[in-house]
Structures are given as structure tokens and as C-alpha cells.
Subunit: 412 residues, 2 copies
């Protein structure tokens, strides 16, 4: 099938899906969850082929770990589908309602986006997560995963489509692009009038390619060079606890901290506490930090803008709140930034001045997450400022339209 | 000045403007309005140079009319600035507020977009309108107008910047690109990390170029192939009145109707009423229409997708509500679509099924407008589905961020 045909099928499916009731969509989600559990053997067999080929092609063990499915992982993917099913339907909510001066009744109602395309890399759970979030939000989805998991993805696609059809919905609500060449990704990026929203999910290279080349609307996700700033008025025990969590709890994710900034007034007391809290983490410090923590590596300029996604932390002593803010403005990817302080004025200045999706006062940056924010699930974390910012749940992948009702009004 | 320097100035200005109070911004707007009225002679002299050059270059009288300023037009631009001043400040409004399960307090607050760029064509009022809307919304703006009005725009820029500075704000909140070569437009479209939002304002060619080439986030505006559908259950007097208004009141604008669809059950009775209501308008009909209205021109396939912006209307008789919806789905630019009917079910089906920014029941499409919708003013009408849809006022050119306040919470 060509992408043009796939696009037409998706547009067509999106029309009936947009009008489906919450109940109809929920039945489909329940059937998908059930079918995933019922077809574990088929999924594992397809996944085993992907893994065998990955080993043949010399992929790293870390990569192979990411694309591997197990019975337990499939059960957890199926359980996540039921969680999405149990979320409230975002479609149809009245966002604004007013009567205009001329008696016209104006309502702004949330409606599905239409057709959403997702370009992603290796993890096969993204195939199911993205499909069910789009389905619940009333949009047809075109999935373009990576070649490393194409067999697993095809199995998951087939199972989901059969389940959707058995629920009485159009199976073209979920379509996977089987040709994983670069050409199909390029073509998707240019399908204006067919794709209403394109979301890249994956590494920095993929996201940059999509953002720079797409002619269809895109939401940029992902990059997180997050900072924790320990102010002169910080509770230092709390600060050590927060930087430990922000750096160490799961260093591979985008909301993990990459740089610690410490006000000079508390550096001498705090840095040893930080080092004790960060055992197992490599520290790369500015000159002052190296003086106060002898033996650690000297950071170079590139460290301030590196998203390590690893047990490495850059550490800098700053002269003032203002220096901290200026450092962050210079290096931030506008994801999540935290201040630890007992001084409410310093916190307000930090949070008002810094341009990021989420600003934290006395809490870990690790909370920037759809579930933590109470959105139920997320399809990614937006680092752009248009449409959606921060965790994107069901509402964030919807659009809206105006319903205007009159009795023959014309414009004067 | 290079665009890179201009971009740095804009980012810098955007930081202080984002923190400016409503009062500080309002003083600047008042001074801009006052200065426009005070400097009419300077503006008219610059505009006269633009007009003389336009004549020399053989521009059409219609084009020259669009770029011409008069004392009255300047007074009206200055008055519009005061109207923007009197609108509520969109910045800082709390959009959501909740306490999470772990006691974290989460607030979603509206914040300025940052740096907005506008690429536009001939009308010099856009220079002032765009600048003051961005300023009120707390964003710095980079204006890239057309070469036909560069002298007028430079005069307006100088007057606005002096006024902004005299109000104590950074004049780099408003900057005009003086080099009107294609190269500067291209360069603006690629300024990632500097420009947060790019809005093209002008003809279809300009908008397509920007949408297809920009690497920065764009809001697509403008194209309006709007339909009025007269249902079997329509009040035909009301319908004639609505199509007259939708087509004739101001045919050059995007919310004017371009195609009339008529249910076959009322075609014989309605089409003569429509013809009588549309005196002065060329009709191009389908075969059935031509039979019922002898003497009118036969429409060809291209008529259904043409945005005439003129006293021309395509007319088609359809077999059913469903045919009308399918015709609109095929040809719509997703701007504004109207149904005239006394049948509430037909109206609901039309409005639910059609994918457009604004759906009308028993009212003219001409109401899709920022002032009519009660937004106070507009910077354009979005025809895309991301971020903003339909008229974009002050709120629609803002972003938001999350403020999360804790007492040392870390993620478990």
C-alpha cells in the first residue's frame, strides 16, 4: 500500500472515529487489551525474529534490551491500555460558551485532531501506547516505527486492527507503515492536508530531522537539559535529597537533572552533602567546585549543555540567583528547572523569569510526567511553546472548533 | 543590523517585556497611539514616497489603494491601538490549578510566547496592529513587511520605538526588518531557538511558502473557501438573507462565502430568491442550477475549489445533507461553513461532521472574526488545528507554563 492510500484510509477512518461515542471507543480499547494478552505467543515469536536480526546486525545489548518484549512486558502494555480506557473521554467537552452581542450563541468544543502520525524508534510499546491514546482521543493514527522492531510492530498492528474491527470500528484507525526506509519518513513529513499533527518520539537526531523538514504541523518533544539550583536560603538536607532524586532515580530520562547550580554562600557546606548523596555519580565541576571537592573532574564549556542521560552531573558554583538564572537561560532546553530555597521571593523570581515547560520550587524535576501531573498517560513531553507544553495527555492531542448558532443573524 | 543581532535584541527585550505589568504595557500603548496622531505628517510623507514608487513600478490601482494611508486611516489605526490597550492583559491568568496526590501544588499559567515574527505583504496598518497585539501579549515582535510599504513601515517603526522607549520599556520589543529581500524572509523562517512563533499574513502564495519552508513553529492563516448550505428544511427568506450577507457584504475577505449548496427539494423555489438577493454577483452553477436559472454560466470542476474573493459565487444543487457534507469535506479549507435549516438534527449532523474552525447554524459565515467573537482584536484567522483555530486574539498568541510548588517532594 502506498502512503497516499494509507493517508486516504486514515482520513476516512478519522471521520467515523470522530463521531464514535466514548463507549464505542472503550469497547475497542478493552478488546485490544484482551487481544494482546491472548496473543502473547505470536508477539514473542515476531519479537524473537527482530532480536535475532538485531544480534546478527551487531546492535548493542542496550539497544537489544530496549526492543525486547517479554510476557511480563506485554502484560504491562495490555494493562496500560485498560488505564487509557478508564480515562475520561476528552472529545466534546465545552471549553467556552457565551452569547454574543447580537444573540449568536458561541460554543468552543474540543474535537479530535483528525489524523496523527508518529515517527519513532525502537521500543515496541510505543506502537501500542500511541495507537490507543490516539484512538481514545478520536484520531486515526499512522505509525512509522523503526526497522529494528518492524516484525514486532506488524504483529502488534495486526492484533490491534482485528480487535478494533471486532469492536465495530474502522480498523484503519490504526495503520503501521511497513516500509521502514527513510523515504517513508520523509514522505509522511510532507503530507499536508492529510496529516494534522506529526509527533516524533525518540532521540535528538530523529526529533531535529522531523522538526526541520516537516511541512505538516509538528510537536517537538524530548530534549531535557534540566537544572537544580540550590539557593543561598535553601534547606540543604532537602536540597541534597532533591538533587539525588533528580539525578539518580532514573538518569536516562528527559526530566532527570544534568546540572547542579549552587549559590556561593552555601557551596562550602552543601557540596560535600551533595557528593555524599550522589555516590555512584561522576561529578564534573567548575573551578570553585573542584577546590571545594578535591579530586573531581574539571568541567569544560560543553558540559553545561550536555544532556548526559547517565550517572554524570555537571556542578557549578554561582555568585547569585541572577547568575543562576542567566546560566539556565543560556543552556536550558526549556523542559524542567528547579530551585531549592526557603525564600519565597527568590522562588518567584526564578519561576517567573525562566522560560521552561515546568518550574519547580522545592521539588524534583522528575515530576514532569503525564501520570505525575494527573493526565493519566502521556504521548510525549513537548518542549515547544505552541499548542502543548510539558506532558501531553489526551486533551493535548485534540483540537477544538467553534459552534455558532443563530436565528438568521447577518453581519452589519 | 543582521537578523542574528535583531533576534538577540528581540530575545533580550522579550525577557523584560514578559515581566512588565499590565500598567507598564498600557502606558506604552497609549504613547504609541498618541505618537501616531502627533506624527501624521511624517507618516504621510513616507507613504507618499511608497505610492510614487508604486506608480513608477506600474502597480495596479487596487494594490496602491491597499498601501495608501490617509489622515483618517492613521487616526483609525491610532484608535485601534487604544482599543488593544483597553483589553484585559492575557498574561498571568491561571488556567488550571490542582494539588497532586503527593501534596505538590500545580498551576498552569498563561505566559507570553516570547519572540513572534510576522511576515506580511502590503498593508501598513498590519505593522502597527501586529506590533501592539504582540506588545500587549508580552512578546517581542520582528516585523518583516513587503517592499512596497517599506518607507511607511520604517516611519511607523521609528514612531512606535520612540514611544515604547519613552514609556520605559525596551524599544527592541518592536523591530522592523529593513531589508525586504526574499533572503530575509527565508532567514527568519529558519531562526530556531530565537523565534517562538511565526505568523504569515497575506495571500495564499506567501502563506504556502512560509508553511512549507519554515523550521520554526508557524500558525497557518487565511485561506477561506467557505460554503453556505441551504437545507430542505430551511427558512428560505432567512437563507437568501444569509447568502446575500455572506457573499456580498465584503467579498474580498476570507470569511466570505464562495459556494452556495442547495438541497434539491427546495432548489426550484430557492434559486430565484437567491438570484434576486445576489444582484451584482456572477453565478456559476451546476447543470441543475443552470436549468433552474437559465442564462447563468456553467461551473467547471475548478469553481468548487476557487476562493474568488470577488462578486462571483459557485452554486450547486445537492441530493441530500450527506451530499452537501461530502462536497464541503472535499473542497473546504476548514475555515467557516454554514447550514440554514429549521431541522435541529440536520444542523447537528452538519456541525459535528464537518471539520472547520467555525460551523454556523442559521447565521452568516462573516462572523468568523476576532471582534465579532468577542476577542477584542485579532492578529489573523488560523486555519490549522494546532494551538489556535479561527480568530486569534491576545490569548491565542500566548503560551503557558507549569508552576510546581513543593516541600521537598521527590519521585518514588
Amino acid at each position: 500500500m502506498t502512503l497516499t492510500e494509507m493517508g486516504m484510509n486514515a482520513r476516512n477512518a478519522s471521520k467515523s472515529l470522530a463521531l464514535a461515542t466514548a463507549e464505542e471507543k472503550n469497547i475497542a480499547l478493552e478488546k485490544i487489551s484482551h487481544a494482546l494478552n491472548e496473543n502473547v505467543a505470536e508477539i514473542l515469536a515476531a519479537n524473537a525474529e527482530d532480536i535475532a536480526l538485531a544480534r546478527e546486525n551487531g546492535l548493542s545489548e542496550a539497544m537489544i534490551e530496549r526492543l525486547t518484549l517479554t510476557e511480563k512486558r506485554i502484560a504491562s502494555i495490555a494493562a496500560a491500555v485498560l488505564k487509557v480506557k478508564n480515562l475520561p473521554d476528552p472529545v466534546g467537552e465545552i471549553l467556552e460558551s457565551r452569547e454574543l452581542y447580537n444573540g449568536l450563541k458561541l460554543e468552543k468544543r474540543r474535537v479530535p485532531m483528525g489524523v496523527i502520525a508518529i515517527i519513532y524508534e525502537s521500543r515496541p510499546n510505543v506502537t501500542v501506547d500511541s495507537a490507543v491514546l490516539c484512538l481514545k482521543a478520536g484520531s486515526a493514527v499512522i505509525l512509522r516505527g523503526g526497522k529494528e522492531t518492524i516484525r514486532s510492530n506488524r504483529a502488534l498492528e495486526g492484533i490491534m486492527r482485528t480487535a478494533i474491527e471486532s469492536a465495530g470500528l474502522n480498523p484503519d484507525c490504526v495503520q503501521l507503515v511497513h516500509d521502514t526506509s527513510r523515504e517513508t519518513a520523509r514522505e509522511l513529513m510532507g503530507m499536508r492536508g492529510v496529516i494534522d499533527l506529526l509527533i516524533p518520539r525518540g532521540g535528538a537526531g530523529l526529533i531535529r530531522t522531523v522538526v526541520e523538514n516537516a511541512k505538516v504541523p509538528v510537536i517537538e518533544t524530548g530534549a531535557g537539559n534540566c537544572h537544580v539550583y540550590v539557593d543561598a536560603a535553601a534547606d540543604l538536607t532537602m536540597a541534597a535529597n532533591i538533587i539525588k532524586n533528580a539525578k539518580m532515580q532514573r538518569p536516562s530520562v528527559c526530566n532527570a537533572a544534568e546540572t547542579l547550580l549552587v549559590h556561593k554562600a552555601v557551596a562550602k557546606e552543601f557540596l560535600p552533602l551533595a557528593r555524599a548523596a550522589l555516590i555512584g555519580c561522576e561529578l564534573r565541576g567548575c573551578e570553585k567546585t573542584c577546590t571545594l571537592l578535591p579530586g573531581i573532574k574539571l568541567a569544560d564549556e560543553s558540559d553545561w549543555s550536555t544532556e548526559y542521560n547517565d550517572y554524570i552531573l555537571a556542578v557549578r558554583v554561582v555568585d547569585s540567583l541572577d547568575s543562576a538564572i542567566r546560566h539556565i537561560e543560556k543552556h536550558s532546553t526549556r523542559h524542567s528547572e528547579a530551585i531549592v530555597t526557603q525564600d519565597a521571593h527568590a522562588a518567584a523570581e526564578f519561576m517567573n523569569r525562566i522560560d521552561a515547560a515546568a518550574l519547580y520550587h522545592n521539588a524534583s524535576t522528575r515530576f514532569t510526567d503525564g501520570e505525575e501531573f494527573g493526565l493519566g498517560a502521556e504521548i510525549g513531553i513537548s518542549t515547544q511553546k505552541m499548542h502543548a507544553r510539558g506532558p501531553m495527555g489526551l486533551k493535548e492531542i485534540c483540537s477544538f472548533k467553534y459552534f455558532v448558532t443563530g436565528e438568521g443573524q447577518v453581519r452589519g
